[in-house]
């Protein structure tokens, strides 16, 4: 039984796979039929999809699907035999049939059964349509599959049976006579139909379509092949590099051949993951038809560049955004026929989709010749919905105003329709497209129409990146977040960077650009400049990056080149470091880290929501371990104790009024940036006597973050930040104190912050 169940599951999986494809084809062919663009096999194809589905479902005991498909088949067989002529009503009903079947398939996928959904109205309609002409369909033979489970070739036989009839010669009653007639037509009269699983291999294809020669391959299998090819490429590189040392013609020739074959293999394997964008667009004629019918609009869909190829993962990612845009264009863009006529346009609106390659990217244009976007209305809506203020709206440029439609919550539709107007649309579209490293651009001419231009990378796995060097290591910066590069030389380099309360800034065209030094952020030593000239000139390279919509400058030692890199994930040991997005392998086989620009900006505190008193610790982190110089934050605890912590440990300095202190259990807390910040009074937890100081209305707090949690260390007064070489006498280590040192001629205790936090927590849990 177990074997049968597995087999059943396998068969169901196959059924699901091929039926979804089949139903898509069914829709396409029906729409073509409606527009009179029928090929000789259209009707056969349409019929076959339903017929196969019925047969397979019957085999697998899926009675509900079988029955529904069966009723549809009755109507289709009349159509195919020319006993009926298609009407728009019929097409609509048949499309509804394919939706119903899809719904049942989804139920099957989710629950393992075909459900009990009620489609009696649809079925009645299908039956009713059959009786339009006098020729009542003889109850189509209920063809219980007689050849067991594997009757995949049954539909082929059906094709054989019906093929000649399309040519208008013979009228046959379909499946019943299948067995008898299967040898009648000669194979040469056949046009290959799209594959129905195994049947593809049985067909004697006169003109084979692309799909006929395709097989299904598991994506993970392809990924594996791709990885292996990657390894082969690296091995090839080593072989080729090393054979030059040997003076052996045969070896050289072999290496050369290996080289060529590997390159070709790599290209071919890359291609296997590519799919034509037409796979997504195939659904659009149906969507356009449905939406325009629903809205009583007339829309003609024109598509160009269906064969433009994209990586499978990208195809998946753009499917929903594109669908949304298409629906939006019809709903908001294209006007009603009456309005169009009144402004002198053709009654039928035009929606055009175009895809093409450009500069290593794929461009997709969605163009409509509708009313365009009414900027005043968008602005008014945005103001009415409090997304922007009236003053802001007055200052917006045309382009900025257009981009308002990407704001979450904005909808210009006056009423919510089935199609759109819920205000959850374009912002999601934009986010989804940006998630895969793409961009979206909008142009609109009032009265003329709207064009949306989407640019997406060919593949997700390979991204363009800027390679930089800092502290002798190479890093890759994804180009999507790159704004510009600034190079300061000579005096500019010496004077251009100003300090603002400890934070380095650069005046970029009149605006202050906060700077972060990569080697300081990463606590690595600045690299030795490559050549003497650079050292003389004091060159400063600033990479202007965008994080969370704010620009900041990243100072690096050297800017190398832009390169296409392959993104590889980091192991879990490194997942916690938000400054890295992954790693990649460079041309020389070494690993380079890919920077996560947003994570890095947060690490460097260059983008934070409150800019009150940020401790920009870039300076602090530049310390080389060799000379033991440390930047210390000096503060006093009580009247007489002087303490210090490495500035790097202080995330921020804050002041809180005593009135804001609340309690949970035994712990004092304050609400801080949407979180609860536990306060630790340093005086209560360090060893040794502390003379209490006068109570003050303001608490001085050093915020310390550890493993995603923040703690507020309450001190009496922040004194200074010094950069000193300190010698710690570890002997005096006791609770909360690492040791003492002489700083600025005074004995200063160095606080053991993690230890102190542990102690305070232990204390709190005891008290509670």
């Amino acid at each position: 039984m177990a074997i049968n169940e597995t087999l059943q599951q396998e068969l169901v999986k196959d059924l699901l796979l091929e039926s979804h494809e089949g139903l898509d084809r069914f829709d396409r062919e029906l729409l073509a039929l409606e527009q009179g663009q029928t090929g000789p096999d259209s009707m056969n194809n349409i019929f076959r999809v339903i017929h196969t589905l019925k047969g397979t479902a019957g085999c697998l005991g899926l009675g509900h699907i079988e029955h529904t498909a069966h009723v549809g088949e009755d109507l289709l067989s009349l159509l195919r035999d020319g006993k009926l002529h298609s009407t728009p009503e019929m097409i609509t009903t048949l499309l509804a049939l394919s939706d119903a079947l899809r719904g049942m398939l989804r139920t099957l996928e989710a629950t393992g059964t075909d459900g009990t959904s009620d489609h009696s109205a649809l079925l009645a309609k299908l039956v009713q349509l059959q009786v339009a002409p006098a020729i009542a369909a003889a109850p189509a033979p209920v063809e219980k599959p007689v050849f067991g489970l594997f009757d995949d070739d049954e539909p082929v036989v059906a094709v054989l049976a019906v093929a000649p009839e399309v040519a208008g010669a013979v009228v046959m009653t379909a499946p019943a006579s299948v067995q008898a007639s299967s040898d009648a037509p000669t194979p040469t009269t056949l046009h290959a139909a799209p594959p129905v699983s195994a049947s593809a291999s049985v067909e004697v294809a006169g003109k084979s379509s692309v799909a006929d020669n395709a097989i299904r391959v598991d994506i993970s299998q392809l990924d594996k092949v791709m990885n292996l090819v990657g390894e082969l490429v690296l091995a090839r590189n080593q072989i080729v590099a090393n054979t030059t040392q040997f003076d052996q013609a045969a070896l050289m020739t072999a290496a050369q051949r290996l080289n060529i074959i590997t390159t070709e293999l790599q290209e071919s394997v890359m291609k296997t993951r590519m799919q034509p964008i037409g796979n997504v667009w195939g659904k659009f004629p149906r969507i356009v038809r449905d939406v325009s019918h629903e809205l009583n609009k007339k829309v003609r869909l024109v598509m160009a560049g269906q064969t433009t190829e994209l990586d499978r993962t990208i195809i998946e990612a753009i499917k929903d955004p594109l669908t949304h845009i298409v629906r939006n264009s019809i709903d908001h863009g294209i006007e009603s026929p009456a309005k169009r006529l009144s402004v002198g346009k053709a009654e039928e609106g035009l929606l055009s989709l175009r895809a093409y390659h450009e500069g290593g990217q794929v461009n997709i244009e969605i163009m409509d010749d509708g009313g365009g976007i009414n900027l005043d209305r968008v602005k008014a809506k945005a103001v009415a919905q409090h997304l922007i203020t009236a003053e802001q709206s007055a200052r917006l440029t045309e382009r900025e105003a257009l981009n308002l439609i990407f704001l979450p919550g904005l909808s210009t539709a006056d009423k919510i329709t089935n199609v759109s107007g819920r205000g959850v649309g374009m912002d999601v579209v934009k986010t989804n497209i940006e998630k895969i490293g793409g961009s979206i651009d909008l142009q609109s001419q009032p009265g003329q129409g709207t064009t949306l231009k989407i640019k997406i990378p060919l593949t997700l796995a390979i991204i363009p990146a800027l390679i930089v060097t800092s502290g002798g290591d190479r890093y890759a910066i994804p180009q999507v977040s790159l704004l510009e590069l600034v190079r300061l030389e000579g005096t500019q380099a010496r004077k251009g960077i100003e300090q603002l309360y400890g934070a380095a800034v650069y005046r970029l065209r009149g605006h202050l650009l906060p700077l972060a030094y990569l080697n300081q952020q990463f606590k690595v030593k600045a690299g030795v400049p490559k050549n003497a000239a650079q050292a003389m000139d004091d060159v400063i390279n600033i990479i202007v990056l965008q994080a969370d919509g704010r620009p900041f400058g990243l100072v690096v030692d050297e800017i190398n080149d832009t390169e296409e890199i392959v993104v590889k994930p980091l192991g879990k040991q490194l997942k916690g470091i938000s400054s890295f997005a992954g790693a990649t392998i460079m041309g020389d086989g070494r690993v380079a880290l890919i920077l996560d620009v947003v994570g890095l900006a947060q690490h460097a505190n260059v983008v934070t929501e409150t800019r009150d008193r940020p401790v920009i610790d870039t300076k602090a982190r530049a310390q080389s371990d060799a000379d033991q110089r440390q930047t210390l934050l000096l503060f006093s605890v009580g009247k007489d104790r002087r303490m210090a912590i490495p500035l790097a440990l202080a995330a921020r300095l804050e002041e809180f009024p005593v009135s804001r202190v609340e309690r949970t259990g035994a712990t004092e807390v304050v609400q801080y940036r949407g979180q609860i910040l536990p306060l630790i009074r340093v005086a209560d937890h360090v060893a040794g006597r502390v003379t209490p100081d006068e109570p003050s209305d303001i608490l001085q707090v050093v915020v310390y973050a550890e493993q995603g949690r923040s703690y507020g260390l309450v001190v009496s007064q922040i004194n200074d930040i010094v950069n000193e070489s300190v010698t710690i006498k570890r002997a005096s280590a006791s609770q909360g104190i690492l040791g003492s040192a002489v700083v600025q001629d005074r004995v200063t205790d160095l606080l053991d912050v993690p230890g102190l936090v542990r102690a305070a927590e232990a204390h709190a849990s005891l008290a509670a």
């Binding site: 290591d473 470091i577 392998i585 380079a592 690490h603």
Partner: protein
């Protein structure tokens, strides 16, 4: 716990360790590494293992032993984990040993600190002790981050 008694052995700071041979993907010579700033000091860097990026963990640091002399290049013992391959940096590689189950003992209670977490048991070989390390524990650095911070202070 597996019933496999074969261990891939190696030396770290004079101590003799073993990991379940079925967990070992391969042993390779020293590889060029790319250091990872801001990472735990236990992470020595990233190596390129035939196109796969593998994190290298220095077992000396992981086990809180003395630092490896600068002139001594470590070997990579690449082990399989749930999260892909991880390389353990060791001083020198030994044989694959088949050991007698009767010589096994749990680590003594006196073993403390990082070693307590990592060393799963001890085989009393004739001339020395074979310390068996748990690879899952070894590559789990969750506890180590705070220790790394303490070092900074």
């Amino acid at each position: 716990m597996s019933t496999n008694n074969q261990f891939c052995t190696f030396y770290v700071d004079g101590l003799f360790f073993g990991v379940d041979v079925l967990r070992v993907q391969e042993v390779i010579r020293f590889q060029e590494m790319t250091r990872v700033p801001l990472a735990s000091p236990v992470v020595s860097g990233l190596i390129n293992l035939r196109g796969q990026i593998v994190t290298a963990i220095d077992l000396r640091r992981r086990l809180v032993l003395t630092e490896r002399p600068a002139d001594q290049l470590p070997m990579n013992v690449v082990v399989r984990t749930d999260d892909g391959a991880v390389s353990l940096l060791v001083d020198d590689i030994g044989d694959v040993l088949e050991v007698d189950e009767s010589t096994y003992e749990r680590p003594p209670e006196t073993l403390t600190g990082a070693a307590r977490q990592i060393v799963r048991g001890v085989y009393k070989l004739k001339d020395r002790l074979l310390l068996i390390i748990d690879t899952d524990q070894t590559v789990d650095l969750h506890e180590k981050t705070s220790a790394g911070l303490t070092k900074v202070a």
